[in-house]
């Protein structure tokens, strides 16, 4: 009997590993399409076809026109009309008595907000469901499962809103920018068809996934259920990458010749210069954004909770969501750096418009927002210490960490070009301040932001240790190692930041690598050492979920709104860097709105979009709470112990 049982266990394990393998394989699928090999095949096929046509038909056919790819320089057969030359009239730019660009701006932004939210949530639903399935502790496992279900429930309403907004967006394009839209569809129609099909597949999977949650609870079916989450994410990611290719085509066109004539290779048009950098940046960004929104949802439910169980549940949910958001926030700046690098490599002009020119002032706002994100994260973690007994040991360090963070932010926020009156300028004797101006350059900023991230990691480590006293025999050495690790990292980062002043710019760029390595090694090595040290640690008390200050929940709101605002801002920057082009250097925007708005107007528009999004989202939350009210209370009652159990996180 026992043997049989063991055998079954082993089978089950095998099956699990298989399933995991399939999961990983399916997740990697989208990457496969970005392998350029495929492109060559396409191209060869096209050329062969042309050669074949020439051969068989001989001289009778008119010679086919050959064009050269604007970006890749490849030869291709012209297969489409040149980009239309529009002019400011009602035919090319039909209009209401209103600025068309503002309409398209709002339609785009709202679709993007909802789109990224519904793309992000299934990713972490998948992760959380998986964690739930491999967690041994039954109560905990159940808790994770409920959480995953809660997440997907919010996204289901959002999903239909996304679809509606997508429709609105397409119609807005067709109505207000018909010439541009026709041109785009002529090139991208095959991709657009795939897009629609994928969308159908995604909807189907999502609905089965959601409504089949309870039916597919046990055994193998649960794995099938999880693999559906994987497919959901594969579809979603490919969808997003397709849509990205249209946006990046507009910035860095490829696959067409200098007149904008399509050369027959859709892959080149999709795989344009900025496609992959934007893909990576957007996937990470979506995760951060999705985590932020769910955290805000949890905060909303926490604040409106009627009893302790609900409060405990939503406190925990907010914590997990915040954790996800921050985990993806940390690599985001690096992805941003990569994107900027590629922009510069593509066109110096575009890079300068972004970072040094017309749009540079907006980057200062971005710096402020990034600051807000990291400060809020730290603040939330410190507030979280309150719910653990034994935290007093670490709370006394908070003031020093605040100090370090604030000083770094003073450096981080020091603008290179200061806003000042001419009188102040004369008093200062130059655009750059001799003392403080030194903080305006890359070297100082890199140092500051790395210290900020490292300090955030430190906050998190302390948070993890709050309610535990290590008992492993090497605890003393472990502590020494952690001290040494962080001290060396801090010294290293600061030293390199100073050293960076004395060396040329192109060498300095190289310095950011060891700085980042310091930061990341604190993150990974520090976390690992800490994790092992906390094995079998003596708890000083459970995590009392729900016993967190109200301030912390407002911090979560702050986090989510900052993300939203930042996304609106960066999206605007990315899009308006094309200046007066629909498609950069290929199709000119000749509408009366082809100018760059003032900073104030742009900021107001972004705020409007943020506000609009949050108001509609509150409606979604409210809908979500209508359905859950009963369920959570029942579940809460069923597992009150679970809800109060210390988390492993």
């Amino acid at each position: 009997m026992k043997r049989l049982f063991e055998g079954r266990m082993r089978n089950k394990q095998l099956l699990s590993w298989l399933a995991v393998g399939v999961l990983v394989g399916a997740l990697l699928l989208p990457l496969v399409i970005s392998i350029p090999l495929l492109a060559e095949e396409f191209e060869d096929a096209a050329l062969e076809q042309a050669a074949f046509a020439e051969e068989t038909l001989g001289e009778d056919v008119p010679a086919q026109e050959i064009g050269y790819d604007v970006h890749y320089g490849d030869e291709g057969i012209v297969q489409g009309p040149p980009a239309p030359v529009t002019s400011d009239n009602e035919n090319d730019y039909p209009r209401y008595n209103f600025e068309s660009r503002v309409i398209i701006w709002v339609a785009n932004q709202q679709h993007l907000y909802y789109g990224s939210f519904v793309l992000a949530v299934p990713i972490f639903v998948m992760i959380i469901e998986f964690i739930g399935m491999v967690t041994k502790d039954r109560a905990m496992a159940q808790k994770y499962d409920t959480l995953a279900y809660d997440f997907i429930k919010i996204s289901i309403t959002a999903y239909s809103i996304t679809a509606i907004l997508g429709g609105v967006l397409v119609f807005t394009f067709m109505i207000l920018y018909p010439a541009f839209w026709t041109y785009m569809t002529k090139i991208f129609h095959p991709a657009m068809h795939i897009y629609v099909l994928l969308f159908l597949a995604e909807s189907g999977t999502l609905y089965i996934y959601y409504y089949g949650w309870d039916a597919m609870r046990e055994g193998l079916l649960k794995w099938v259920h999880l693999s559906m989450a994987v497919f959901l994410n594969v579809f979603g990611t490919v969808l997003m990458m397709l849509a990205n290719s249209w946006a990046t085509f507009m910035m860095s066109p490829a696959g067409v010749d200098a007149e904008g004539q399509y050369l027959g290779n859709i892959w080149l048009a999709v795989h344009n210069h900025l496609w992959n950098p934007v893909n990576i940046h957007r996937i990470l960004g979506n995760m951060v954004f999705g985590g932020g929104i769910v955290a805000a949802y949890a905060a909303y439910r926490f604040l409106s909770a009627k009893n302790d169980e609900e409060r405990a549940h939503y406190d925990w949910m907010g914590y997990v969501a915040m954790f996800i958001a921050v985990a993806f926030l940390i690599p985001l700046p690096f992805a941003g750096y990569y994107l900027m690098r590629e922009v510069y490599a593509y066109r110096q002009q575009m890079g300068i418009t972004l970072m040094g020119g017309l749009l540079a002032w907006l980057f200062i706002i971005q710096a402020v927002l990034i600051g807000a994100l990291f400060l809020t994260t730290n603040y939330y973690l410190w507030q979280g210490m309150e719910r653990m007994r034994g935290a007093e040991r670490y709370q006394k360090y908070i003031k020093y960490m605040t100090f370090v963070l604030i000083v770094c932010f003073l450096v981080w926020l020091t603008p290179h070009t200061m806003v000042m009156t001419p009188t102040e300028l004369k008093e200062m004797g130059g655009q750059q301040h001799p003392v403080v101006g030194n903080y305006g350059v890359m070297s100082a900023k890199n140092g500051a932001v790395n210290i900020i991230i490292t300090t955030t990691v430190l906050s998190f480590l302390l948070y993890q240790r709050c309610n535990k006293i290590p008992t492993v025999p090497w605890a003393r050495y472990g502590n020494i190692a952690l001290w040494a690790l962080f001290s060396v990292a801090f010294v290293n980062i600061i030293w390199l930041a100073i050293y960076g002043y004395y060396i040329p710019a192109n060498v300095r760029v190289g310095l950011s690598v060891p700085q980042v390595v310091s930061t990341l090694s604190c993150l990974f090595i520090g976390m690992t050492i800490n994790l092992f040290m906390m094995r079998g640690a003596k708890p000083t008390g459970p995590v009392e979920w729900g016993k967190i200050s109200v301030r912390s929940q407002y911090a979560l709101f702050m986090l989510a709104t900052s993300f939203t605002w930042m996304m609106g801002l960066m999206g605007y920057i990315r899009s308006s860097v094309r200046l007066h082009w629909h498609v950069n250097e290929i199709m000119r925007d000749n509408s009366p709105w082809a100018f760059t708005h003032t900073i104030g107007f742009a900021a107001n528009m972004i705020s409007f979009n943020v506000l609009f999004f949050w108001v509609t989202l509150l409606f979604v939350f409210w809908l979500g709470s209508l359905g859950t009210k009963k369920a959570v209370v029942e579940k809460g009652r069923a597992a009150p112990v679970a809800a109060l159990a210390p988390s492993t996180n």
Binding site: T353, M420, G429, Q432, V435, E585
Partner: protein, 306 residues
């Protein structure tokens, strides 16, 4: 008070702030532990805030523009809030006097309340008055210091695409363009008659600079030439890492050739006094003076693909 030491300024500033905080923390600790006097949280917070304000207003020379000080002060306030409200105990202690002023019934709080009721509206109206008073100062202009360049410039009838052009005078011994030649020769003597072609180009560039540019850009290339302060915007400071060092050589070529009049539309407010040098120098002279500027400041031009 000793001033800021040239070359150490950014580090010195941070060290001084650190020192102030250390004195503050130690002082509070000694008062608390040795003499049993505990400074109330609210007072501590106020002290930190005022110290920050004092430091940036009076310690930093030359004075900082208001916009920057405002950013700093807001950051300090946020930091103070994070610190006092990080733990429930401190937060309660911090709030207590404030709440007491709002509703406690002791004579002291009554007086404080009364005074505040008079002082707050008065200072608000004072501020409003100050803001509304018309000032004679010129308004703030947000200048785009480095506007995006055109894709190509035409100088003396020749077209230079900025993405791909290279300086014809930044050459190594074999006459080929080289990114590294400057690094190898930053310490060389430009007046050495036997030096390589590159150094001779630098020397000729230097001649051109001192004949044409140094009146404005200064003989140390730091933007403080004889006429510098007559202009708004003032001439660029090439020793600042924010100018030459972060630009590609072709960008600088475009700026020198076309000057202030050649600024694109986004180069608001187009009031630059920088002359369009194509009217006075040959193409080669322009490249040479740029070569000199990079050589003298020891910054290499920005390059992307390497």
């Amino acid at each position: 008070m000793p001033g800021f030491i040239e070359g150490m300024m950014p580090v010195q500033l941070l060290a001084e702030i650190l020192l102030i905080i250390v004195i503050f923390v130690l002082g509070a600790m000694i008062l608390d532990k040795k003499m049993g006097i505990r400074i109330p949280m609210l007072l501590q917070a106020a002290l930190v805030f005022i110290a920050g304000w004092w430091y940036y207003k009076f310690r930093i020379e030359p004075p900082l523009p208001f916009s920057v000080r405002a950013i700093y002060q807001v950051m300090i306030a946020i930091g103070i809030f994070m610190w006092v409200s990080s733990a429930e105990k401190g937060w309660t202690e911090f709030k207590r006097p404030i709440l007491a002023v709002l509703d406690a019934k002791t004579p002291l709080t009554w007086w404080v309340r009364a005074v505040l009721l008079v002082v707050l509206p008065l200072s608000a109206s004072g501020m409003a008055y100050k803001n509304l008073l018309p000032s004679l100062g010129e308004p703030i202009e947000l200048r785009t210091v480095h506007p995006a360049p055109p894709a190509a410039v035409t100088v003396h009838g020749k077209k230079f695409p900025l993405q791909t052009s290279e300086s014809p005078v930044r050459v190594d011994e074999s006459g080929e363009y080289s990114n590294h030649i400057q690094d190898a020769h930053v310490m060389d003597n430009p007046f050495d008659p036997d030096s390589i072609q590159y150094m001779q180009n630098v020397k000729e560039g230097g001649d051109i600079f001192f004949q044409n540019c140094h009146f404005c850009h200064g003989d140390n290339l730091n933007g403080r030439g004889l006429y510098a302060y007559a202009f708004n915007p003032i001439p660029a400071n090439f020793t600042d890492p924010g100018t030459l060092a972060q630009l590609q050589e072709t960008f600088v070529f475009w700026r020198v050739a076309k000057g202030g009049p050649g600024l694109p539309r986004e180069g608001f407010p187009w009031a630059s006094a920088m002359p369009p040098w194509e009217q006075h120098l040959t193409t080669e002279e322009i490249w040479k003076v740029i070569l000199f500027e990079y050589w003298h400041t020891k910054y290499p031009p920005r390059t992307w693909d390497e």
